[in-house]
Symmetry: C2
Subunit: 216 residues, 2 copies
């Protein structure tokens, strides 16, 4: 790897490591909103899986000679900002956020991982693999909407708000890290390539909203 590439890889691993730590936090917090003990245990289990991912990323950072806490630090503001701006008020909002928000973020990180050499590409794809919360969230949200159809409108609005916040925060992340921005530009080839990347992410998002029974 060139020096620039190494720096971009370290940045990407760092933002992901912190993302997993905040995912843990958020799922642990949402677990407390669960209407049943089974739901609470299910969310706690997903939170635990995120920590397993965090640890793998942190170990790889150490291997690359980086200090995980130092590498994560530049990203705490943007990611904390996203979570503070999208704090779920209900169990269902938490589930929509876990499915739609995490799905969107995972798609974005997966696209960037595609530009990286091994072993980091595979590591990132593995830690982004769903920890089971997708199926769980879809089942719970669909059941809730079936029981009370008026919920759909409010949750669809919530889904749109998540996208808006996610876009503005990811722009903040990229703007702060030159190497990441260069990696994305080099990987996509040009602005048309970036446009196609955004199209793919948008299409996957629309699909997820439909899966939940929500208007995208």
């Amino acid at each position: 790897m060139t020096t620039v590439e190494t720096r971009a890889v370290v940045d990407l691993l760092g933002v992901l490591a912190y993302a997993e730590l905040t995912a843990f936090d958020r799922l642990a917090e949402d677990a407390r909103l669960a209407p049943t003990l089974d739901g609470r245990a299910a969310l706690a289990r997903m939170a635990a899986a995120e920590i397993g991912h965090h640890d793998r990323l942190a170990r790889r950072l150490v291997e690359l000679g980086a200090e995980p806490a130092a590498v994560m630090a530049p990203f705490t503001r943007a990611l904390d900002g996203f979570h503070e701006g999208t704090r779920p008020r209900t169990w269902l909002e938490g589930l929509v956020k876990a499915y739609v928000g995490d799905g969107l973020a995972a798609d974005f990180y997966r696209e960037i991982a595609g530009f990286l050499p091994e072993p980091d590409r595979s590591l990132i794809l593995e830690v982004l693999a769903d920890t089971g919360h997708a199926d769980f969230a879809v089942r719970e949200v669909r059941a809730a909407i079936a029981a009370q159809p008026t919920l759909a409108g409010r949750l669809a609005l919530w889904g749109r708000r998540l996208v808006g916040e996610a876009i503005s925060q990811s722009q903040a992340v990229i703007a702060e890290r030159d190497e990441l921005a260069r990696l994305i530009l080099a990987g996509t080839g040009d602005l048309t390539g970036i446009g196609r990347l955004v199209d793919r992410i948008t299409a996957a998002h629309t699909e997820r909203m439909r899966t939940l029974g929500l208007n995208p």
Copy 2:
């Protein structure tokens, strides 16, 4: 196993399964008080280990034909009461609670597990094994006291309050579950036996307070 024994085992597995779920919750909450990202990741990791324990207990309950959520339900009030009554206000109070409070609870459950047949005795001893938070808490608390010796008095008071709350809540748990009470009485033999059990638990507690550098 006799029917009474099975019921006592199910009760004990149930209270433990819920205790692990609340331990997860609490460690996840304390993680947010961490002064560093490394400390936050360390506590999140311990929380994740508790969920692994919870899952093993829940699986065993299913094997015994019990429904985990139903078996945990009778214990939520007492355990939630303990945690609401002892909510740490600082990172250090959280660590003392994790070490002293969990140590006390583990000793108590271990004593009862000794009266059970296999495989439940071993299962309980395994899930009660320390998940690494003991060493971590001891190191952090001792370092904090070394840096600021006046902390010791306040933290010692906090440790005593934890014991008081733990005793009153465990009495509430036993009073509510006849089979558990009978199991303890049969296991210890008589009131002298119970007295010796309490002595052992108290001695271990005193030892833990000293390890932290606190007056018991």
